[in-house]
Subunit: 359 residues, 2 copies
């Protein structure tokens, strides 16, 4: 088992990465002994792992209460949140209880947000079962639900007590979701670590073939890179924004085609191609580096072409981006492989051209 | 103008108390210059004060956007929250914008919670227009909405940038709401300051007659007492719980009769009578002190008898109290006037008797 530490001042926490961790009572015990624990999960994950997690919690001295939600991005809204809150109240969970979020990014974001607001906040543990959640959404304390006008528009920064990333859970992950997770792994390399990009170029086939050692390394390195950024800028007042590389375009794609049609990682993949293109057209990234990004994404089996939306529709959808300031769009642009920054002065014509180039 | 400081580590803020403050651009200017500002208010307050606040914000260099919600406790739920979020997104307010909560406790709690979760958190200013909001709900950063199963069950700790308590706004306050505010003023004295209780006994008639100097003193002293507690225990992990004196019973009354039928302050008033009775029956408070509390509440024109609910229904409703731990009820009990503490070992029979005694 690997352990990556997220060094938040006063509230450091550990990301445990390894095989067969979901059923390991020792990982839960320090946090849950004597407590009521709501295990929030969905109807796809529950048949696979819920029993195991509940047994481990019981061995750790907790009293688990299962709370099931629907699978998929559509579940990430007010209605499901209210159902989870209702279930917690019906089970009479008090402020001294906690939540385990067992599932992918949707479960983690929604259950984490439920923990952030239930009785003004209770603690939670992330137990991510998809690659995307293990390398990205479970780490860093961002929780949220979607709004019809934009993704993750309602949420909170609420750090977990621990993250339990069981790589065995990836065995049951559909190929399409594995690739969607690889998109965020690629993103971490592209904005922060050129050596890791090179490693990914050398190991992309092993990752797609689910080589256990390759997956463990990719998860560990992704978490390390993200943890460094989060520890330095928990609330995204500055540097953390670079982790949004590809996301301004990506969120527009997800909203434009309707949530859930494209997986988040797929939209981010195409968004990264657009953002790299924009970086090149803005004159700050060498064309060959943008091509390396696109080639790696292509080899990962991820989409590099956007859906058929007008460029005006993209711009409209991007207006609600959380990085927007004073009504102006801002983009994370690449300056080199492993180096990214927030730019507020991008000409709209270049944005339009970059979208068109990836359609 | 009086200024009371809330000395939170790293994020101190000021409560401004005085006449004609809502229209004073200088109070807004340090926080809003150059920003989009959503003024969340209701259809009762808007005709009275919205223009004045919008003009002051414009003078302070902000661009105000009005957001109207319905009046009353029923507005404090998911549906209204979603409408506020929708309005903020429709107006394209970014993370660099802020909210002014203009109104009573419902507006402050709901708009404050909207600020806590909009795009994972934006700043806000409290502009309370009721006595209850000025002395209690606008101070201390508690924000929330109600759930059918319990009051304030979904919320966040989110401190305002400033509180602007305009005592002139109380001129338009109905008598019933004035008295409801006095209930929380009495509470602050009863749990924290015996001298202030004596002052209230001497000045209750002046307060009910809306004597401006008496009201200003009552607001200032209430805010000082509450600010000290909040600064010492922002997230209610300990001592802050004493501010919930009367609230376990009070919340049960509000939920039992249906939200909005009893005003919060009225329910707290009766709840304090029950809690003082319980303190006496538990053998920790002298009977004559409990009688002083009841006499003061009676003189304030507040109810001292609970609604016709069975004691079992009370106990059932109190199970969702946020102070409950391990499924057991806990109560804030009085040990003397000005001294209160959390007790977890109260015999249910005493609780039943105390409810029955106030019916």
């Amino acid at each position: 088992m690997q352990v990556v530490s997220v060094a938040l001042a006063g509230r450091p926490y550990s990301i445990h990465i390894g095989a067969n961790l979901l059923g390991d009572a020792h990982l839960y015990a320090p946090h849950v002994a004597g407590k009521r624990v709501a295990v929030v999960t969905n109807d796809v994950v529950a048949p696979l792992y819920l029993d195991r997690v509940q047994q481990a919690l019981a061995h750790a001295g907790a009293r688990p209460v299962p709370v099931l939600i629907d699978d998929g991005e559509r579940a990430k809204g007010w209605q499901t949140l209210d159902r989870v809150i209702e279930a917690l109240l019906a089970a009479r969970l008090g402020r001294d209880s906690l939540i385990v979020a067992l599932g992918g990014g949707v479960v983690g974001d929604l259950a984490g947000f439920a923990a952030a607001v239930y009785q003004r906040g209770i603690p939670f543990i992330q137990a991510p079962t998809t690659l995307l959640a293990q390398v990205d959404s479970s780490v860093g304390g961002k929780t949220a639900i979607n709004h019809a006008r934009g993704k993750n528009m309602v949420g909170a920064f609420h750090q977990p007590l621990a993250v339990i990333a069981d790589v065995s859970a990836l065995d049951s992950l559909p190929d399409r979701e594995l690739r969607a997770g690889i998109a965020e792994v690629i993103k971490h390399g592209v904005v922060l670590d050129p050596q890791f990009v090179a490693w990914l170029e050398a190991n992309i086939d092993a990752l797609l073939a689910r080589d256990r050692a390759a997956l463990e390394h990719a998860i560990q390195r992704s978490c390390e890179l993200k943890a460094q950024i989060v520890a330095a800028d928990e609330r995204e007042s500055g540097r953390r924004a670079i982790l949004n590389f590809g996301h301004t375009f990506g969120h527009a794609i997800e909203a434009g085609v309707g949530y859930g049609k494209w997986l988040h990682g797929e939209a981010v993949a195409t968004g990264m191609v657009m953002a790299a293109e924009l970086s090149t057209r803005a004159g700050i990234l060498r064309r060959e580096d943008a091509e390396r990004v696109k080639a790696l994404i292509t080899r990962a089996g991820l989409p590099v072409q956007g859906p058929m939306l007008s460029t005006e529709r993209y711009l409209e959808l991007m207006q609600v981006d959380k990085k927007a300031a004073g009504g102006k769009l801002r983009f994370i642009l690449l300056e080199a492989l492993g180096r990214a920054a927030l730019h507020g002065d991008v000409a709209p014509a270049l944005v339009r051209d970059s979208i068109a180039a990836a359609q």
